[in-house]
């Protein structure tokens, strides 16, 4: 009976003071949203990161750091330091320890999306997530020189369908002033969504990549030297350079030996990196930052809880009459103290529920944007145990800090006489 009375008094009192308390509750809501959001992002980004590439044993490119190589080949962030020669690629093909190779040629873009020059091996050997292959939502892999396959994100965002003609741009960037206008590409296939950077690129053959750059040797198109699709018929477009190579080995146990051999390759300076190792290094870098961010949000939550208690303590002076009445009617100091605990707990629970709704809204609204712009997939999902624990810790912390006003009210009402003390 006492508990029911305490709860009904506390809720009436909260409602009575809703205008002041709504603001502190909002502060708490925002900070909990931040905390929950960051914890959620941590999990999702890590998941998204580790699932970007799978089954590829080595990434081989021109001599550079493993992070740089990983970033520009897999995440399409940044640029290659140098290219590798086609003859080197041929040499790699000769290596009996290597099962398959995917050549990657970068440098152009289509409306801000990377153009990846590759071969049929990309569709056949590239794996992401837990070894899932790439699948086509419609159409087929490129066959002709001027065929293009679009990533799911590109097709969706630019609203492309099969057989659309698209013009690629020279160099990166969203707006390019030099376009390969003479050589339009035809969309022959659209990939299924993967939630990886694969969605944010378009794929053409190495021959296509070579063909559109005929006459561009000086970096801009020299009129009269570029090709038209008709002129390109029957010509040989063996590339001179490619940017990088994904390699899969027959026997995984040889990975380190092959890596060492490639790092000491005599033809030209190469770097071979293990994607898993590079990914975890990248994640280690990120996690420093992410942990710091998490700690900061933790402090933000603590700050707003302290703010909440400060407000409750301020309200305490206003509540002297009300407490005096309750005491005179026979309410124990414990009941008075429990009002503060219940009110603080209720505010924290409301804040947490609102934060949950806010976060869900934010994820469902920002998720597609993150996927398009950063290739990071943040789906809306049920919270995991860690996140629930984090969320539940907020009301618990609220009860702990509410002990301050509760104890002060308890002590005051024990020593106070009848009436509000203001005789």
């Amino acid at each position: 009976m006492k508990a029911r009375l305490a709860i009904s008094l506390a809720s009436a009192s909260l409602w009575h003071r809703r205008k002041v308390l709504a603001l502190v509750c909002l502060t708490l809501t925002l900070s909990v949203t931040l905390l929950l959001g960051i914890q959620y992002l941590r999990t999702e980004v890590k998941q998204s990161f580790t699932s970007t590439i799978s089954d590829t044993d080595l990434i081989i490119g021109a001599r550079s750091g493993q992070l740089n190589l990983l970033l520009y080949t897999v995440f399409h962030i940044g640029d290659a330091t140098n290219n590798i020669r086609w003859s080197t690629f041929q040499d790699l093909k000769e290596d009996s320890r290597i099962d398959w190779l995917i050549p990657i040629s970068l440098g152009d873009s289509y409306k801000g999306f990377r153009v990846v020059g590759t071969d049929q091996g990309f569709g056949k050997h590239f794996r992401f997530g837990r070894g899932q292959p790439l699948t086509l939502a419609s159409g087929q892999w490129f066959d002709g020189v001027f065929d293009v396959v679009l990533g799911a994100g590109v097709a969706k965002q630019l609203n492309h369908a099969l057989d659309d003609k698209i013009i690629l741009s020279h160099g990166g960037g969203r707006t390019s002033f030099s376009n390969h206008t003479n050589t339009p590409f035809t969309v022959t296939g659209i990939l299924d969504a993967t939630g990886t950077p694969v969605d944010q690129a378009v794929y053409i053959s190495l021959q296509g990549m070579e063909a559109i750059h005929v006459g561009w040797e000086s970096g801009i198109a020299i009129p009269g030297r570029t090709l038209t699709p008709e002129q390109a018929e029957g010509r040989d477009f063996t590339p001179g350079n490619i940017t990088a190579v994904f390699a899969g080995l027959d026997r995984k146990i040889l990975t380190f030996r092959v890596q060492r051999d490639l790092n000491q390759y005599s033809g030209e300076p190469l770097s071979a990196v293990l994607p898993g190792v590079a990914l975890s290094e990248l994640w280690r870098l990120m996690s420093q930052f992410e942990r710091a961010l998490f700690a900061i949000t933790g402090f933000v939550v603590i700050t707003s809880l302290i703010g909440l208690v400060a407000v409750l303590l301020t309200l305490q002076t206003q509540r002297a009459h009300e407490i005096a009445i309750l005491r005179a009617t026979g309410a124990s100091p414990g009941l008075i103290a429990s009002l503060y605990l219940i009110e603080c707990l209720a505010l924290a629970v409301v804040a947490c529920l609102a934060a949950l709704a806010f976060s869900a809204l934010a994820v469902s609204m920002l998720g597609p944007w993150l996927l398009t712009n950063y290739g990071i997939q943040i789906p809306l999902r049920a919270l995991n145990l860690d996140e629930w624990a984090l969320l539940i810790s907020v009301p618990l912390a609220a009860v702990v800090v509410a002990l301050i006003p509760a104890f002060s009210a308890w002590r005051q009402s024990r020593s106070q006489g009848l009436g509000s003390g203001a005789e």
Partner: protein, 238 residues
């Protein structure tokens, strides 16, 4: 501080005492002189007028009787229970079960409706809830009607009501569940004379219906004639 009984409070052996006070003194802290209070004996169902100028310790006396402060010496026996011997929790319990309190002003919990304010004692005390026949709402409505609070005001926030109405609602709260004792601390000092007379009439009439003793504190001596007994707190003005 002296105290003097104006009219001798009679001891009627056939009826149990609502309040019996002996050799009572109190100090706020060790370094201050003790306040002493007159002995008194109030039979159940009779009313006592306690007169005293401000600063004579009226509120302290009521706090002692209500069990919210502990005396330095002396005994307070209420309804046969020596309340100064009870622990703090038991004194709270005793107050909830047997005592109604009316203050000078700010008598009501601002976020409750008039009716919820009246039924508050029944939610804090099972005994008083049982006295209303487990139907505190009906009892509250009966008292509010008797105290001339219009029905349209029953579910209103009490802050919207006049001072006179607020004091009458406080009286209803003190009366609900028929407690044996009502302590009223200058409940009429914020009222004009018409409202004051009406308030005292209603309070005493309703108290008599349930055989409740009223201990009424005021600095206004003219009210004393309506009570069975009166005593003076502090020195008699010359």
């Amino acid at each position: 501080m002296n105290s003097q009984s104006e009219s001798s409070v009679q001891i009627s052996a056939d009826r149990s005492a609502a309040i019996e006070v002996k050799d009572l003194s109190f100090r706020w802290d060790k370094h201050q002189p003790a306040l002493t209070f007159p002995d008194l004996y109030l039979p159940q169902g009779e009313h006592l007028f306690l007169h005293g100028a401000s600063g004579t310790g009226k509120s302290t006396f009521l706090s002692l009787l209500a069990g919210m402060l502990s005396p330095a010496s002396g005994t307070i026996t209420m309804l046969g229970t020596a309340i100064q011997k009870l622990g703090a929790g038991k004194r709270d319990r005793f107050r909830a079960d047997h005592i109604g309190v009316i203050f000078q002003q700010f008598n009501l919990v601002p976020y409750l409706t008039a009716e919820a304010n009246v039924t508050l004692p029944c939610r804090l005390s099972r005994m008083r809830n049982i006295s209303t026949g487990q139907n505190s709402a009906a009892a509250a409505e009966r008292l509010l009607t008797a105290l001339a609070i219009p029905e349209s005001h029953w579910q209103r926030k009490v802050t919207q009501l006049s001072i006179g109405q607020q004091q009458r609602i406080a009286a209803a709260r003190a009366l609900i569940g028929s407690p044996e004792i009502i302590l009223a601390d200058e409940p009429t000092s914020a009222l004009d004379s018409d409202n004051r007379d009406r308030f005292i009439d209603l309070l005493l009439t309703l108290a008599e219906e349930s055989n409740t003793s009223v201990l009424f504190v005021s600095h206004d001596r003219s009210l004393a004639q309506r009570f069975h007994h009166q005593i003076q707190l502090g020195e008699v003005p010359a």
